[in-house]
């Protein structure tokens, strides 16, 4: 028993080191003064100069602004579509075309991005040729592209939340005189709101990080942050990107730790009350 525990603990230690050493190295070197990234400049480090450079890099800032717009619009649209889809799948056990619907909401989760991206672009080109819409590509087509795969993630999150949701709570509201639409907005939505919020954040991140689908569906002049980063990285290591990585990781950590803390606290409250 103890031998196996030792084995499992070794695996955990190795696994977490594997996950975090690269991330840590990026963070550490983002404070390195040397242009050579991996050569530590003892004389001038640590320094915040790359953060300063990042915040004055017009190309990166412009791309980040586009990414932000796309990510917010995508997250909002995905949450609407994904919540509807997740609700439909969780609440209507049988309807015509349910299997096809399940397949369509699951496939984007695993579909290689190059395939999704290519097919979306070809669709937009074909549509433009035949009906004149969308006229050219840009932020709009990118949002559509991102929503198509992000909503699948939201669907999963919402559906699994609803699966553990006591349906009789909705029935009780209906029993007390609320119509189905009202029940959804007054009872269901507030209760599953944390899951919906998690879905929004997930969709936001997916969009914010996406390179491949953006590359296919973006038009000229609508380069997103990952597209700019990718072209910089292809040319070699760049300390500004380390600084960007550090900012990203900090933001994600704050959000994730905050969310975990909030849910843990809510759970503790519920547990202490039930006892």
């Amino acid at each position: 028993m103890s031998r196996r525990s030792a084995f499992v603990i070794t695996c955990l230690a190795f696994g977490y080191a594997f996950l975090y050493v690269p991330i840590a190295s990026m963070v550490v070197y983002s404070f390195n003064a040397s242009q050579l990234v991996t050569v530590w400049d003892h004389a001038h480090s640590p320094t915040l100069k790359w953060f300063g450079a990042l915040l004055h890099d017009q190309e990166i800032l412009g791309a980040a602004w586009i990414s932000l717009k796309v990510a917010v619009a995508n997250a909002t649209g995905s949450v609407i579509l994904g919540t509807l889809a997740g609700y439909g799948l969780a609440r209507f056990p049988r309807f015509r075309g349910r299997f096809a619907f399940t397949a369509m909401t699951t496939a984007p989760l695993v579909m290689p991005e190059v395939i999704t991206g290519l097919s979306l672009l070809l669709l937009f080109v074909t549509l433009e040729q035949t009906i004149g819409w969308p006229a050219g590509r840009g932020i709009g087509t990118m949002i559509i592209g991102h929503m198509t795969f992000s909503m699948a993630y939201v669907t999963v999150v919402v559906q699994s939340r609803l699966a553990t949701f006591d349906r009789s709570v909705e029935e009780a509201a209906m029993d007390l005189g609320a119509r189905p639409v009202k029940v959804f907005f007054v009872i269901t939505l507030p209760i599953i709101f944390p899951a919906v919020l998690a879905g929004w954040l997930l969709a936001f991140t997916l969009s914010w990080d996406d390179l491949v689908i953006s590359s296919f569906t973006a038009g000229p002049g609508s380069n997103t942050l990952p597209m700019v980063v990718f072209s910089m990285v292809r040319l070699g290591v760049n300390p500004e990107i380390n600084a960007l990585a550090t900012l990203t990781i900090t933001a994600v950590t704050i959000l994730a730790v905050g969310a975990t803390w909030l849910t843990a606290r809510a759970r503790r409250h519920a547990a202490s009350a039930a006892a």
């Binding site: 006591d166 009789s168 709570v169 029935e171 009780a172 509201a173 209906m174 029993d175 007390l176 005189g177 609320a178 119509r179 009202k182 009872i187 507030p190 209760i191 409250h269 519920a270 009350a273 039930a274």
Partner: protein, 379 residues
């Protein structure tokens, strides 16, 4: 067991052919795919009644209740409430309310908001809502808990919130699905009486689902015993207990000794049954309507059998056996007696005196009973 026949539902409207039923099920059937959960049930429930649906788990009680609440639509049949056909009325327009098995309290609202929810749906003035909610919370002794989140309540308190939330709408019928099922035994017994008190005060018709026969006996003006989607028998607790109409009902309510036999004498005033299982005849002090030669059973409750070491004076309804097992339950003891035929008979005896004449294992005893005690069932 406490019963309250006649306390509720003034008179006995179910025996009055002219009485108007308050809730009426007409040949209601519900199928889930191939499976029939409720099978051709007809039922009349009268105003101010407490009607208990009693049956084993999975026999269709909840399904029947959910059809009354409007959450399932019957595959066939009609449902009438207060004379109006509500079969196609959605739940949010039915004049009934339901107390769910899981209570189904809204976790994101406090006690007061939960109770007020139904009144808000009716768009009542704020002041009226506040007043009625406060009065209702007082009635269920939750006044101090109005601002508590429901997650912070004990099981018994949650149960009362669920009750208050359904009752505050003043429904014509309150549907209760295993209302006390989640409470522990002591609390359950106390709450049963609170429930009766509330029903008495408010005069609402209750339809209660339960699998606990003691609970049904305590609460009900009438009980409907359910068996695999059908109502096997409906009647007052005493009727169900003393005059079960089938082996199933006799066995389901309380425990019973069944002796298979056939008629040997069939008079209007009495019948005599010859039972090979008993190794003799049973004299039954009332007439029955049954085809001669048809198989039938005499049902005899354990507490109606007298056990003695000496021979009793009577000549009918006496047999002998060996005590095979004794179980001491405190208030009473259960004896299992083996007859010469090998049939095991269950007898209960109250432990009235602390040092009563002991009946020991392997001792020989006489069993006897009154001619009025056996009931004859034909299925």
């Amino acid at each position: 067991m406490v019963t309250a026949i006649g306390r509720r539902a003034a008179g006995e409207p179910w025996n009055d052919p002219d009485a108007r039923p308050y809730v009426e099920l007409r040949r209601v059937t519900k199928k889930f795919g191939e499976f029939t959960a409720v099978d051709d049930v007809s039922l009349k429930i009268y105003e101010r009644e407490v009607f208990c649906l009693l049956g084993a788990s999975g026999c269709g009680k909840t399904t029947l209740l959910r059809m009354l609440g409007g959450f399932e639509s019957p595959t066939a049949g009609r449902i009438l409430i207060d004379g109006e056909d509500v079969t196609d009325v959605p739940p949010y327009e039915r004049p009934v309310n339901m107390m769910f098995q899981s209570y189904a309290l809204f976790p994101h609202m406090n006690v007061e908001q939960n109770v007020a929810f139904g009144l808000k749906q009716d768009r009542l003035p704020k002041a009226v809502i506040r007043e009625r909610v406060a009065a209702m919370l007082e009635m269920v002794q939750l006044g101090e808990y109005a601002k508590r989140k429901v997650g912070q309540l004990s099981g018994g308190q949650r149960q009362r919130v669920a009750l208050a939330r359904a009752l505050v709408k003043r429904p014509k019928v309150l549907l209760l699905d295993e209302p006390l099922g989640a409470l522990d035994k002591k609390l359950r017994e106390r709450t049963q009486f609170e429930l009766i008190g509330l029903q008495d005060k408010l005069g609402v018709t209750f339809l209660v689902v339960t699998h606990d026969q003691e609970e049904a006996m305590t609460l009900a003006s009438r009980i409907g015993v359910m068996d695999r989607g059908t109502i096997a028998q409906a009647g007052t607790p005493a009727e169900i207990y003393e005059f079960p109409n089938s082996r199933f009902v006799a066995d389901f309510i309380g425990s019973v000794n069944l002796f298979e036999g056939r008629l040997v004498e069939d008079e209007p005033e009495f019948v005599r049954i010859d039972s090979a299982e008993l190794g003799g005849t049973i004299l039954v002090g009332h007439g029955i309507s049954s085809a001669p030669e048809a198989a039938l059973w005499a049902a005899l409750r354990p507490e109606k059998i007298t056990m003695s070491r000496g021979a009793p004076p009577q000549t009918d309804n006496v047999t002998r056996g060996i005590v095979q097992d004794v179980a001491y339950l405190g208030d009473l003891s259960i004896y299992v007696v083996r007859l010469a035929t090998g049939k095991l008979v269950r007898v209960t005896r109250p432990n009235t005196a602390r040092h009563a004449e002991p009946v020991e294992r392997d001792g020989e005893v006489y069993l006897s009973w009154d001619a009025a005690s056996p009931v004859v069932v034909t299925r």
